[in-house]
C-alpha cells in the first residue's frame, strides 16, 4: 500500500483556448488525512479535483491516486475513489434507496452485501425514514446527503468532495460536516474543496490555499493563521471617519512597526501582536479626536485574514454555523 492517497507532481491543465486553469500543482496527501483546497471562485479548485478524479486528463504532470496512474489506470482509480460533485447529483425520479442501490450496482458491490450497505448508508446520512420516497421531493440538504451516501457505497479509501456545502443552510452544513468527520475518523482520506474558510478550519488537518491555478500557501490551519502576524482588532465607525481614524491608528507608538491598519466598509481593521493590549488606547484616542466608535471586537485571525495576508485579496466566508435556519424537510 502506498503512503500517499494522492501523489501528484506538477499537474497542469490548459484548455484548448489557452486558458491555464491549473499551473503546476504539486500535492501529497497522506492516507487518512482530511485535506482542503481553499480558494475563491475560479481559482482552479474544481478543475484540479476533476483531474484527480479522472474526469479531466491533465495536460502536464503526473498523478497517482491510491497508487494508480490517473491517466493509464483511470478505471482502477475510479474503482477506488468516491466523488461528490459540486452540483448535487441524484436521480430525482428514483427513491433514496434506489439511488444508493444504483450506485452499489455501478460500483459492483457484491449482491449479497447490497441491502445491508444501503441501510447502513441511509442511517449514516439520516435518510432511513424517507428511504422509499423519491429524491425529487427532497430539500437541498437531503439531496446533498443522499449524494454523499452514493459516493460511499464501495467504501472507498479516498473521497473527493467538491464544495460539498455550497448553497446549504448552516444546519444542513453542520450535519454534513458530522458525516465527513465520521468517515474520516474511520480512516477514509478526504480531499475537499471549499470557498468557506470556516469549513476548512473546522474540518481539515491541512489546507492548500489555491489562487489562479497555483497553491500559494499550505499548512495546518494554525500555521496559516500564524502568518497573519497577530490578532485582529475590528473597529466600527460612523460613515466618513475611517480615513482620519486610520491615521490615528497608524501613529507611531500605538502598535508595533509590523502592524497593519486597513480601512474597511464598516471602519478599521488593525492586525497587530498588541491588538488586545493597545486596543482600548486606540478607542480612547478616537474618542478624544471626536470620532464616535459604534462597536469593536478583538479576535483571533480567521482564514480570511490569512488569505488577505497571503494574496492581498479577501475571500468569501460562509454563513455562520451559529445561525439557526430551519432546513426544509420533505413533506411528500
Amino acid at each position: 500500500m502506498t503512503e500517499y492517497a494522492i501523489d501528484a507532481d506538477g499537474i497542469e491543465l490548459t484548455y484548448s483556448d489557452g486558458t491555464k486553469a491549473v499551473r503546476g500543482i504539486d500535492l501529497q496527501v497522506p492516507r487518512g488525512e482530511f485535506y482542503a483546497f481553499l480558494g475563491p471562485n475560479g481559482a482552479g479548485k474544481t478543475t484540479t479535483i476533476k483531474t484527480l478524479a479522472t474526469l479531466l486528463a491533465p495536460t502536464g504532470g503526473e498523478i497517482r491516486v491510491n497508487g494508480f496512474d490517473a491517466v493509464s489506470g483511470s478505471r482502477r482509480v475510479r474503482e477506488s475513489i468516491g466523488y461528490m460533485a459540486q452540483e448535487t447529483s441524484v436521480d430525482e425520479e428514483l427513491t433514496a434507496r434506489e439511488n444508493i442501490r444504483f450506485a452499489c450496482e455501478s460500483y459492483g458491490v457484491p449482491r449479497g452485501e447490497r441491502a445491508e450497505r444501503i441501510d447502513e448508508l441511509l442511517d449514516l446520512v439520516d435518510l432511513a425514514d424517507v428511504a422509499d420516497k423519491r429524491a425529487g421531493g427532497f430539500s437541498g440538504g437531503m439531496k446533498k446527503r443522499l449524494d454523499a451516501a452514493t459516493a460511499l457505497v464501495h467504501r472507498p479509501p479516498l473521497v473527493f468532495l467538491d464544495e460539498p456545502t455550497t448553497g446549504l443552510d448552516p444546519k444542513a452544513r453542520n450535519r454534513l460536516w458530522d458525516y465527513f468527520r465520521t468517515i474520516n475518523d474511520a480512516g477514509t482520506t478526504i480531499f475537499l474543496t471549499t470557498q468557506y474558510l470556516e469549513e476548512a478550519d473546522q474540518l481539515c488537518e491541512r489546507i492548500g490555499v489555491i489562487l489562479d491555478g497555483e497553491i500559494v500557501a499550505s499548512g495546518a490551519p494554525a500555521e496559516l493563521k500564524q502568518r497573519v502576524g497577530g490578532e485582529i482588532l475590528d473597529v466600527d465607525l460612523a460613515d466618513g471617519d475611517s480615513q482620519q481614524a486610520a491615521e490615528i491608528a497608524r501613529r507611531a507608538g500605538l502598535f508595533e512597526p509590523g502592524a497593519t491598519v486597513e480601512v474597511t466598509d464598516s471602519g478599521l481593521t488593525v492586525t497587530s501582536q498588541r491588538a488586545r493590549e493597545r486596543g482600548t488606547d486606540l478607542l480612547v484616542e478616537l474618542r478624544d479626536a471626536g470620532i464616535p466608535v459604534t462597536g469593536f471586537n478583538v479576535r483571533a485571525p480567521t482564514l480570511d485574514d490569512v488569505f488577505l495576508a497571503i494574496t492581498g485579496e479577501h475571500v468569501e466566508t460562509g454563513p455562520s454555523a451559529g445561525e439557526a435556519t430551519e432546513e426544509l424537510e420533505v413533506g411528500r
Partner: protein
C-alpha cells in the same frame, strides 16, 4: 504520460470493497435504471403516445372517406385504418425516440451523467443499457398503436408474425432518430432545444412522405422529397407487412416474395441511416464524456 501502471509497480490498493461487474451486468444495471425511470414518469410514456393516437383517431374519422377514394384510385383496395396504422406506428417511433435525447440532457443537467462517468462502469455499457431500455419502450408503444388500430378496424394481413414485424420495423426505424436526438442533446445541452429540434422535424418528415396518402396522390415536389425521407422507408416496410403486399413507393427488390421485396430494401436503407446517425451520436457522446480537455 509513461509511468508504469499500478500492476507493474505492485503499489495498487487491493482493499477496495468491490466485485467486478461483467460488461453485460453493467448494461443491465443501466437498462434497469432507465426502465424504472420510464415507468416512474408516465409523462414520457403517455405524451409520446397522445399525439399519434389523436392522429390515428382524427385522420381515420375526418379523412377516412376522402383518403379511401384516393386509395381505391391507386388500386390498394384497403381501409384507411389499415393504411394509416403503419404511419402512426412510425410517428410513435419518432415521438418516443425524441425523448432519448431529452433523457440524456436531463442526466447532464442533474449531474447523473458525470456521476456515471466517474464510476468504473464501461461508458459504452452505460449508453447501450439506456438505448436498450428506450427500444423496449418503443416496441411497447408501437404494439399499443397496433392494438388500438385493430380495435378501430385495421387488419394485419400477415397475422401475428407480421404484427411483430411491424414492431421490429418501428424499432429499426427509431434508431436513427434516437441517434439524431442524442446528437442534438450533446450539441445543445438544453432540454427545450432538444425537444423543439426533434418536434420541428417530426411534422415535415411525416407529411412529406408516403405516411398519410399514396405518393401518386401527392404533388410532384412532395414525391421528390419523399424519396429521400426515411419515414417513407419505415412506413413502406410496415405497410407492406400490414397489407401482405408490396407497398414500396420508391423501390422494390425482386425474387423474395411480395412482402419481402418491399421490406428488405427499406430495412437496408433504414439500417444504413441507423449506422450513420448512430455513429454520429456515439462520436459526439464519446467526445462529451472524454477526459481530454477541449
Amino acid at each position: 504520460m509513461s509511468t508504469p501502471t499500478a500492476e507493474e509497480t505492485g503499489t495498487g490498493e487491493s482493499a477496495v470493497d468491490r466485485s467486478s461487474n461483467s460488461y453485460f451486468g453493467e448494461v443491465w444495471v443501466n437498462f434497469k435504471r432507465w426502465n424504472r425511470k420510464a415507468v416512474r414518469n408516465p409523462f414520457v410514456l403517455v405524451v409520446s403516445l397522445v399525439q399519434p393516437v389523436i392522429f390515428l383517431v382524427l385522420f381515420t374519422q375526418v379523412f377516412g372517406g376522402v383518403a379511401g377514394d384516393a386509395l381505391s384510385r391507386s388500386g390498394a383496395g384497403v381501409s384507411y385504418e389499415t393504411y394509416l396504422v403503419p404511419a402512426i406506428a412510425v410517428q410513435v417511433a419518432i415521438a418516443a425516440a425524441a425523448t432519448s435525447g431529452v433523457g440524456l440532457v436531463n442526466d447532464i443537467e442533474n449531474g447523473m451523467f458525470e456521476k456515471v462517468l466517474v464510476s468504473p462502469m464501461s461508458r459504452s455499457a452505460v449508453f447501450l443499457g439506456k438505448t436498450a431500455a428506450e427500444l423496449l419502450r418503443i416496441a411497447v408503444q408501437v404494439g399499443i398503436i397496433l392494438g388500438l388500430g385493430v380495435v378501430l378496424g385495421a387488419e394485419v394481413g400477415t397475422g401475428l408474425l407480421g404484427a411483430l414485424g411491424v414492431v421490429a420495423v418501428g424499432v429499426v426505424f427509431s434508431l436513427w432518430f434516437i441517434g439524431f436526438s442524442n446528437s442534438l442533446a450533446v450539441l445543445t445541452k438544453d432540454q427545450e432545444s432538444t425537444i423543439i429540434g426533434a418536434n420541428l422535424l417530426q411534422f415535415p418528415l411525416l407529411f412529406l412522405s408516403s405516411a398519410f396518402l399514396p405518393l401518386e396522390a401527392l404533388p410532384g415536389w412532395i414525391r421528390t422529397v419523399a424519396r429521400f425521407n426515411p419515414v417513407t422507408y419505415g412506413v413502406d416496410a410496415a405497410r407492406s407487412l400490414m397489407l401482405n403486399a408490396d407497398a414500396a413507393s420508391v423501390f422494390s427488390a425482386s425474387g423474395f416474395g411480395a412482402v419481402w421485396n418491399a421490406v428488405l430494401p427499406a430495412l437496408g436503407v433504414l439500417l444504413a441511416l441507423d449506422l450513420l446517425f448512430g455513429g454520429i451520436a456515439v462520436a459526439m457522446i464519446r467526445r462529451a464524456s472524454s477526459s481530454k480537455v477541449q
